[in-house]
């Protein structure tokens, strides 16, 4: 009975949005007191003990990361709705190399990208006259400077590291795009790509209302969070374990400045972790707190999101092996450079 009555009681959409926003804020500020109450009062664990600190870390990070994902991914998705790839393509077509490459890298931040769209996007860009190097700048930046990674970096480490990450990611994308453009590798694109003509792209641009946009963004976010949540929880669990039990000396010995191969080592470790950015960041949070140098940390994060074997396999349909190898090489070299550079500038 009540359910029926409630369903009839059509709440105005704006009210639902306001209530959701207030609930979010309340939960955000309640997370830290809740974690300490949960670990030290309810479970009666000792402050400073490994188990107590691990449990408190877990009980604080799970709601915090969940709230960050739900809140900010919804906002970011909403904003991204105004920058569809079709519009980006039109803005980039026929630009000079430097301006075009920088613009492509910047658009990569706000434009949605999933690896199953990589091929149509690649063909669509080239077909519209976007230069090859500019196209690759976009392909590097779009997954690397991705919203989930940025939001979590911001929430867990503060704006400084998030901005550093963004600037470093953009630099890798711009340099990578310029290098690929300079190498003139157009003949290493599969021949059929050049023959496709979309005939002026008769795509109807839809004009959704704000309510549709918000509903869309929320549906997308709910889906994304549901998909990545198991990884996030496992990641926070591992982070909590590191936080409580792994000695700082061990982390410093393996990943610290004493080991010159630390940066390539973490990049190697990151390759199979693709698409688990959300699960990786809590681990990284614990590692950084335990003395992993900043450059090594950033290189690890970048490698997790940007080096994707499935994406390379998909791109092989449109580019020949040599261009694919150059693409992979440029991305890896860029990430290594970021790692060593930051380690040099910001010593641990």
């Amino acid at each position: 009975m009540t359910a029926v009555a409630l369903r009839r009681l059509h709440l105005p959409f704006s009210l639902v949005v306001v209530v959701a926003a207030v609930a979010w804020l309340v939960a955000w500020f309640a997370a830290a007191p809740f974690a300490s109450w949960f670990a030290f009062d309810l479970l009666r664990l000792e402050r400073g003990s490994p188990l107590g600190e691990a449990v408190a870390f877990f009980a604080f990070d799970v709601p915090k990361v969940l709230l960050l994902l739900l809140g900010i991914v919804t906002l970011v998705t909403l904003v991204r709705g105004f920058f569809p790839p079709e519009r980006v393509r039109d803005a980039l077509a026929g630009r000079g190399s430097l301006v075009g490459t920088a613009a492509a890298a910047a658009f990569g931040i706000v434009t949605p990208f999933c690896s199953c769209s990589a091929v149509p996007l690649f063909i669509g860009f080239l077909e519209a006259g976007v230069p090859l190097g500019v196209t690759f700048a976009f392909l590097i930046s779009s997954p690397m400077v991705n919203e989930v990674a940025l939001v979590l970096l911001w929430g867990l480490f503060g704006p400084g590291i998030a901005l550093l990450y963004m600037v470093a990611g953009l630099a890798v994308a711009i340099v990578g795009g310029l290098v690929i453009g300079r190498l003139r590798m157009e003949r290493h694109v599969e021949d059929y790509v050049w023959e496709i003509r979309s005939g002026g792209a008769a795509v109807a641009t839809s004009h959704p209302t704000w309510e549709q946009r918000i509903r869309d963004a929320w549906a997308y976010t709910r889906d994304l969070v549901r998909r990545i949540l198991p990884y996030v929880i496992v990641g926070i669990g591992i982070g909590a374990f590191i936080h409580g039990y792994v000695p700082t000396d061990l982390i410093v010995a393996i990943g610290g400045p004493g080991n010159p191969l630390a940066v390539p080592l973490v990049v190697l470790v990151a390759i199979p972790l693709y698409s688990n950015a959300a699960g990786t960041i809590p681990i990284v949070e614990a590692l950084l707190a335990k003395g992993l140098p900043l450059g090594t940390t950033l290189a690890f994060m970048m490698a997790v999101v940007a080096i994707s074997l499935p994406e390379f396999v998909i791109l092989r349909r449109v580019v020949k092996p040599r261009l694919l190898a150059v693409f992979a090489g440029v991305v890896v070299a860029g990430i290594l450079a970021v790692g060593y550079l930051f380690n040099l500038v910001v010593p641990a």
Partner: protein, 81 residues
């Protein structure tokens, strides 16, 4: 016979879009053939950059998002003219 085409390489979103399209047909009481286009060349040739794309009677009506069954039913009527 009207024609609905779902453009996408077979990812989760494309399958959801196809399911929504079927539901929309039932909702609207419209008969149409549903075709799933997975060939990248054909997707790109339609000018679609972000999958999944939805095509009704040869016209691209949505890209890069998964419209609900209700939205698609509406599109079926508005694109009839």
């Amino acid at each position: 016979m009207r024609m609905i085409e779902v453009l996408g390489p077979g990812c989760a979103n494309c399958r959801r879009l196809e399911a929504n399209a079927r539901e929309a047909l039932t909702m609207a009481g419209v008969e149409a053939e549903i075709r799933h286009v997975t060939d990248y060349r054909e997707i790109a040739a339609r000018g679609v950059l972000s999958t999944p794309g939805l095509v009704i009677d040869g016209r691209v009506v949505s890209t890069g998002r998964v419209p609900s069954a209700g939205d698609i039913a509406e599109l079926l009527f508005t694109s009839e003219a």
